[in-house]
């Protein structure tokens, strides 16, 4: 049953990644693309956690944590740049 649940969840997360990727390509504003990239990062974190459960190892949590941190920093930097025209003042 867990295997079926993992398969269903993987397909759903792949669909979520595709939808976010579509918004990333479509735009129209740079902020839409930044938001889509943030969503891609969060979904990638979820996919890594799911993969860790599937393989039964705890080695993917560091990777998931790093992806989450990089996603937040990237989104904050892009939003700051679009807000001020500069990342660090």
């Amino acid at each position: 049953m867990l295997t079926v649940a993992l398969d269903v969840a993987s397909v759903l997360l792949a669909g979520a990644l595709l939808l976010a990727g579509w918004r990333l390509l479509r735009g129209p504003d740079p902020l839409d693309r930044a938001l889509a990239l943030d969503t891609l990062y969060v979904n990638a974190t979820a996919l890594l956690v799911l993969y860790g459960v599937r393989l039964g190892t705890g080695h993917f949590y560091e990777a998931a944590l790093i992806v989450a941190i990089l996603g937040f920093l990237g989104t904050a930097a892009i939003a700051k740049y679009l807000l001020r025209g500069d990342v660090a003042e």
Binding site: L2, V4, V8, D29, T45, A46, L50, Y61, A68
Partner: protein
Amino acid sequence: MSGFVEVLVAVLIVAGAAFAFLGSLGLARFPDFYMRLHGPSKATTLGIGCLLLASLAHFALRGEASLHEVLITLFVSLTTPVSAHLLARAARHRRLPARGESGPAARVDATARPDAPSGNAPR
């Protein structure tokens, strides 16, 4: 008992992935930026919270419980509102039109400051 936990883990995994999918669906389908902000910032956070709870239960059942999942959950639920707020503020600054407004010039509300400089205005 372990059968019950397995059912719980499976349900939480499917529910979390469904919430993440709905968040991305909202991102792809809503008509303006301010609506699009809702999907990823709420539904996707709930989805990843469900997934991490499922992972926590799964590894606790096997006797390998760790605090990594709690760490990721805390981090995601702390940073998502911050990045959403930053993005929304940048959208207001860039005068992105909301639905029903035809463009930047049509924006009339209490916070509109047409005399504000569009460049590096100090806040």
